[in-house]
């Protein structure tokens, strides 16, 4: 396909991700397929084979191997892209922690899919949030356009001489990965101005620069030094991100922030959401507003580093806030809820009520009615227990399956 200037075309979230890698001028893609990410790696394989992309696409044998190869290539001076999802992220977890500590720049995409057990295909965010403590930067996308734009910005962040860290761009499986919507494809030359071809800012493997990387470090103090430095670098990305999004906005006309404040200004009720389901939240806000209820939405885009201050500012003086976690830490609750609590804890202007909501697990849809239930619970001065978005219909449907599966067992024993 010929690239015309800032053309708008229909793309799935996955295709937008592939375009992001292509426009970034990626040199190297080590890959391994998994639903719902497959379309990304298939597209890139095709583009490398067709000569639209230059460098190398390598079929790896697992995500662990894939992330090791990605990190090692980044340490050897090329621009690297890779993608995975769900079980693949878990399989590669050791490698992801490892290469994050190498302090090498690369971009990876996660197409969210709920984790086994039970094995399933549709999204929630337990996969990507299992990486929350790796020190990998995380950007979560709501739309296909964001996927593409974030990938371009992700390279700028990853390769920033002050950062040198992997950056992950997250998109929801199915709801975004397979959904087509219009996306502005920026002009390649313009992208190159924003994101020049890769020039490593630190020494990379080659004969004239022998070095040892990632050697064992003994002694808790020495270990702490590297970990604290990793933290400081990740933390600093809040600033780097703002600088880069500003530049991106000026160049391409699309401005991003660490969070999106959707009709927050006078909102009495706020839904805190992320990823593609934020679209549903926005729809609910509009609907509620029409009915005279002052609702608003805070969309989390930059998840790591966690922009506590920005979040606390956005939620300041909002009376009732529901944090909708599309994930579950059994025995604890939602994963983002305590992070939001932490962000606002010290603030006098913090929300009066903070409700933890768990919904959208395994792709369970979040519907209008759910938002009304959330409002009701918010009005009841909620405690710490999460509100689960699981309704009578869900239960009825499940009980039917359960019967077919042979439950209750006593009924079957002659």
């Amino acid at each position: 396909m010929e690239l015309t200037r800032n053309k708008q075309i229909m793309l799935t979230g996955n295709k937008a991700a592939a375009w992001g890698a292509r426009l970034a001028g990626v040199d190297y893609v080590p890959a391994f397929p998994i639903t719902p990410q497959t379309e990304i790696v298939e597209t890139l394989a095709q583009w490398f084979a067709d000569g639209h992309m230059h460098g190398k696409y390598t079929n790896m044998d697992s995500e662990h191997s894939m992330f090791m190869a990605a990190g090692a290539a980044a340490a050897s001076g090329v621009r690297v892209f890779t993608a995975s999802s769900s079980q693949g992220i878990l399989y590669g977890l050791e490698a992801l922690h490892t290469i994050a500590g190498w302090r090498v720049p690369l971009v990876l995409v996660n197409v969210s899919r709920a984790l086994a057990t039970p094995i399933t295909l549709e999204p929630d965010h337990n996969d990507v949030l299992s990486l929350r403590d790796t020190g990998i930067i995380q950007l979560h996308a709501e739309t296909a356009q964001e996927v593409l734009d974030y990938i371009l910005m992700a390279y700028r962040i990853a390769e920033d001489p002050e950062v040198c860290l992997p950056v992950l761009v997250n998109l929801d499986g199915f709801y975004l990965s397979f959904t087509r919507e219009p996306v502005v494809l920026p002009d390649e030359a313009e992208v190159r101005e924003f994101l020049p071809l890769f020039k490593p800012s630190q020494p990379v493997f080659q004969a004239s620069e022998p070095m040892a990387r990632a050697s064992a470090v003994f002694g808790g103090g020495n270990y702490s030094y590297f970990k604290i430095q990793h933290h400081l670098a990740a933390q600093n990305v809040v600033n780097v991100y703002q600088k880069i999004t500003q530049e991106f906005g000026e160049r391409f006309g699309r401005f991003y922030d660490a969070v999106e404040r959707y009709r927050l200004d006078d909102a009495e009720y706020v839904f805190v959401m992320s990823n593609s389901f934020a679209t549903k939240g926005k729809a609910a806000v509009q609907h509620l507003r029409k009915n005279g209820i002052k609702a608003g939405l805070l969309k989390l885009s930059l998840l790591r580093p966690f922009p506590s201050q920005i979040i606390a500012d956005a939620l300041a003086h909002r009376p009732k806030v529901a944090v909708i976690d599309q994930n579950l830490a059994p025995g604890m609750g939602g994963i983002l809820y305590p992070e939001i609590l932490k962000a606002v804890y010290r603030r006098e202007d913090r929300p009066q009520h903070l409700l933890s909501v768990i919904g959208g697990l395994g792709g369970r849809d979040i519907q209008e009615g759910d938002f009304i239930s959330i409002l009701q619970r918010l009005d009841e001065a909620p405690g710490d227990d999460p509100l689960f978005l699981f309704d009578e219909k869900d239960l009825k449907q499940f009980d039917q399956l359960r019967q077919i599966a042979g439950f209750p067992r006593e009924a079957r024993i002659p």
Binding site: G55, M60, D61, M68, A69, Q206, R213, A216, F218
Partner: protein, 317 residues
């Protein structure tokens, strides 16, 4: 496509120890045990491979070769994970190729990518990534130092632990008199089935044979794989001074065949003329002491012997 070995290479073969590269590519001072057989093997190999190398390392004893802020190597080093060195080698190889092809990196900047991993990594969790890399024809050299157990964690059972050996996780008890009841995996056979351009076993006790094999491999492309028997005084239970003696007995008893696989053929490059009984090798190591005392276990020793005999029968002239 496989490289063939030129005649000129034959001529410049190592013939005596004074032919070895006098430069030490691995500086002394590492934390490995005194008398480590695997280190001797790697030292000899690196003398041939030189400093334009990058060594990707798997978790194991040899991870201690470079402990921050020290590295003994003149070349580069990348510690990975227990199953990660081969894919990391893939990433480095691919990156250097891309930079040479696409970004004009001079050929002189190229590196020979090497993997250094123990038998546990190699036979167990690293096996599948390695299989895939050989399948992809990755251009690299694999040096597996085989101390027949998970040495770094205190000598537990690995896929390479031999029948009748005591390890911390295959203890001998009255119910399990052999210790390890499994025979050592045939890694050579597994790798050979991938039909790599070059595959060899080496012993630190045979520096000339070892050096010539690495020299041969150095002149080739694609996956070139080495298994180095690595007598381990600490885990096997013998005095460090006897490392070479144990290595020699492993060859003389036929327990560790010294061979290579090239151009589709297996060639034994150091064939014991008359094989010594395996017990000559076993009796000198603590990990086999339960086969001799308090009661001799002729049954187990005979089984080990017959496994060795069966191996060599395949190659009877």
């Amino acid at each position: 496509m496989k490289a063939t070995i030129s005649d000129s290479l034959e001529e410049s073969k190592y013939k005596k120890v004074t032919d070895l590269n006098p430069e030490e590519e691995i500086a002394p001072g590492s934390a490995l045990c005194a008398g480590c057989g695997g280190l001797e093997g790697m030292r000899l190999a690196m003398k041939v491979l030189g400093e334009n190398t990058l060594t990707c390392n798997a978790a194991g004893c040899f991870t201690l070769i470079s402990v921050y802020p020290f590295t003994p190597l003149k070349g580069s080093w990348l510690y990975t994970t227990m199953s990660g060195p081969v894919p990391a080698a893939q990433g480095v190889r691919d990156a250097l190729d891309i930079r040479m092809q696409k970004h004009g990196l001079p050929k002189a900047e190229d590196l020979q990518v090497i993997v250094v991993a123990g038998d546990g990594s190699t036979n167990d969790m690293g096996l599948s990534p390695t299989s895939a890399a050989i399948h992809r024809n990755l251009d690299f050299i694999y040096f597996c130092y085989d101390n027949e157990a998970y040495g770094n964690t205190g000598f537990q059972h690995s896929g390479a632990s031999p029948l009748g050996s005591y390890t911390m996780t295959s203890p001998n008890t009255p119910e399990h008199p052999a210790g390890s009841e499994q025979t050592k995996k045939d890694l050579f056979g597994i790798w050979m089935a991938h039909n790599p351009p070059y595959l060899a076993t080496v012993s630190p006790r045979e520096p000339i044979d070892l050096s010539n094999k690495f020299k041969k491999a150095k002149g080739m492309k694609g996956p070139r794989l080495f298994i180095c028997l690595s007598p381990c005084p600490t885990g096997w239970g013998f005095d460090p001074k006897d490392t070479h003696l144990i290595a020699k007995l492993a060859v003389d008893t036929g327990i560790f065949p010294i061979k290579e696989f090239v151009d589709g053929k297996v060639i034994h490059t150091k064939r014991p003329r008359k094989r010594l009984p395996v017990e000559k090798y076993l009796e000198r190591q603590k990990r086999f002491q339960h086969l001799f005392a308090p009661k001799r276990r002729d049954d187990i020793i005979a089984q080990i012997q017959s496994n060795v005999d069966a191996y060599w029968e395949q190659y009877d002239e």
